[in-house]
């Protein structure tokens, strides 16, 4: 009989020798795309988070390699167009991507090389899930992981429309949407995500969200002592916080890091589309259809009368109206 894994609190521990059962499963789902009234689980798992300390990243791309290996994707052989990003964007086969930005700091006159590991942020309030029309294609677990269930994905691209971070990518081959899973399959058996496991500088760490916030606070204190007065944690409130967080040396200017959004939130356009448009639209169509049917059944139809025919005869054939014909 297999033991149940415990929730991971770090990515550095090695897996146990004995196989273990997953510590969370379908029963821990709190949100399901295109599904109302999801029954809430009895227990609430400890919130997890991945913390990416941009100031410690050396841009080695070990995380990308580990991601490709664990998820068994095949991004293909790249093409050098003179930039460090490889591939040049997230793809259905590349769930995470080092984005390199060069920035001349006007205060210090130093050239700073800012490297951000891009990928799904695992929002507490996920825009992809809100936009998705396919029941069960996107789920959220109570530990914060937002996962795609490809069996239910229809490839419409609404998740792309809904995501505030431009993350999901639709495959040209199987027409399904792909993104980082936060290695939900590893996490379920007590292991941290592959990228965090592989990171040689521990710029990527993983554990409970509380631990990660505490660790981030230490790192920020350290950065501040080194002159980065604006160092801070990126855990944006607009999306309810995220389960992938960044320590940024320039928290006041997230846009420096390859366009990380300043105040991400689900676009009000998307909220309006999925909210009032849906309700009001369905109501309008329903009322019109029912109203027309009822009126059609009970109101007096507009019927051609005898004298219309007579008048038509007169116009077409020049005939005088027969008796009874009136104008």
């Amino acid at each position: 009989m297999k033991d149940t894994a415990s929730g991971p609190t770090t990515a550095v521990s090695n897996p146990p020798v004995q196989p273990t059962e997953a510590y969370f499963d379908q029963g821990d789902i709190t949100r399901i795309s295109a599904t109302r009234n999801v029954p809430q689980p009895d227990r609430e798992l400890t919130k997890l988070a991945k913390l990416i300390d941009v100031s410690k990243c050396i841009g080695c791309k070990a995380c990308q390699s580990a991601c490709v290996e664990w998820n068994d994707t095949d991004p293909g052989v790249g093409e050098n167009v003179g930039v460090y990003e490889n591939p040049h964007d997230l793809t259905p086969d590349m769930f995470t991507l080092m984005r390199f930005s060069e920035w001349e700091n006007p205060v210090t006159n130093e050239l700073e090389w800012l490297i951000r590991k891009d990928g799904c942020m695992h929002c507490e309030d996920p825009g992809c899930l809100k936009a998705c029309p396919a029941p069960g294609a996107i789920v959220q677990y109570s530990n914060g992981i937002v996962d795609f269930n490809h069996d239910n994905c229809i490839g419409c691209g609404y998740c792309v429309t809904g995501c505030p971070f431009n993350i999901p990518r639709i495959s040209d081959t199987d027409h399904k949407s792909y993104k980082c899973t936060l290695c939900s399959d590893r996490v379920a058996v007590g292991q941290g995500p592959a990228c965090a496991k592989a990171c040689p500088t521990q710029a990527i760490v993983f554990g409970t969200k509380d631990d990660m916030k505490a660790h981030a606070a230490e790192r920020i204190e350290d950065l501040k002592s080194r002159g980065y007065d604006n160092a801070g944690l990126y855990d944006p409130e607009g999306v309810g916080g995220t389960h992938v967080m960044y320590v940024l040396h320039h928290r006041d200017q997230p846009g420096l890091y390859a366009g990380l959004p300043e105040e991400p939130r689900i676009s009000p356009v998307v909220e309006g589309w999925k909210g009032v448009t849906k309700t009001a639209g369905l109501a309008a169509m329903g009322i019109a259809a029912v109203g027309a049917t009822l009126h059609g059944l009970f109101a007096r139809p507009n019927e051609v009368e005898e004298h219309d025919e007579i008048e038509a005869d007169r116009i077409v054939d020049g005939q005088e109206p027969r008796d009874g014909g009136q104008l």
């Binding site: 029309p133 139809p301 038509a312």
Partner: protein, 228 residues
């Protein structure tokens, strides 16, 4: 010969005993029904992706993936089909002075006080509303539809534009369904109308009652005089 004002050149008295007036030739009718079939498929498949409560409708097309693939293709067919219809119908759908009077008497239209209504050409303002409403809305849905067509135009517009496109697409589609309901309802409530799109002809009485100027013009053109 000058262009007829109230009728198409092809509209004619098809028979005299009883009077039948040809309103739509076969091509136009086929064109109309292709458009109608497309619109119904689009409405059902679109509604399925519009609200989760209607997602089960994807089953009619063989599942979500097929629905996602089929919807825009049918959309293109509808657009082309409607465009063909547009070039045939637009001229007589231009607004005319008498339309204002008809609109002002919309209550009498519903109450069937026919003697209070002006004489009209081939289309009444209600029909013109359906025509121009559909024309404008179909342009909106095709433009926004292409913008959100993930399979063939994934990067055509930026994501913020895409959000607006998807909203406009949904709103226009709802409006199209409402206009569609008006269209179907009016065609059924006004008895004798459906045959114009099935057999292509209407009765003389129908033409006299609803489109008198149209009938007069055709009758005047039917210069062979009364049959027999």
């Amino acid at each position: 010969m000058a262009r007829p004002q109230f009728s198409e050149r092809g509209d004619h008295i098809a028979s005299h005993e009883p009077i039948r007036v040809s309103r739509y030739r076969g091509f136009t009718r086929a064109n109309h029904w292709v458009t109608a079939a497309c619109l119904i498929v689009l409405a059902i498949s679109g509604l399925a992706l519009f609200d989760p409560a209607l997602y089960f409708l994807t089953g009619l097309f063989g599942g979500g993936q097929t629905t996602r693939w089929l919807h825009p293709i049918v959309g293109v067919v509808l657009f082309v089909s409607f465009a063909l219809m547009f070039v045939q119908l637009w001229r007589l759908n231009l607004p005319r002075r008498e339309d204002a009077k008809w609109m002002a008497h919309i209550g009498d239209v519903v109450k069937q006080n026919e003697d209070k209504l002006p004489e009209l050409g081939k289309y009444n303002p209600g029909q013109k509303f359906v025509f121009w409403g559909m024309s404008g809305l179909i342009i909106l849905v095709i433009v926004t539809g292409v913008a959100i067509w993930e399979q063939f135009f994934p990067g055509l517009v930026s994501i913020p534009v895409r959000r607006i496109a998807v909203l406009v697409h949904a709103l226009s589609a709802v409006a199209i369904i409402l206009v569609f309901i008006v269209h179907v309802y009016a065609a059924i409530w006004t008895r004798g109308t459906l045959r114009a799109m099935t057999r292509g002809t209407v009765t003389g009485g129908w033409a006299y009652r609803h489109h008198r100027k149209w009938l007069r013009e055709i009758a005047a053109r039917d210069n062979k005089g009364p049959a027999e």
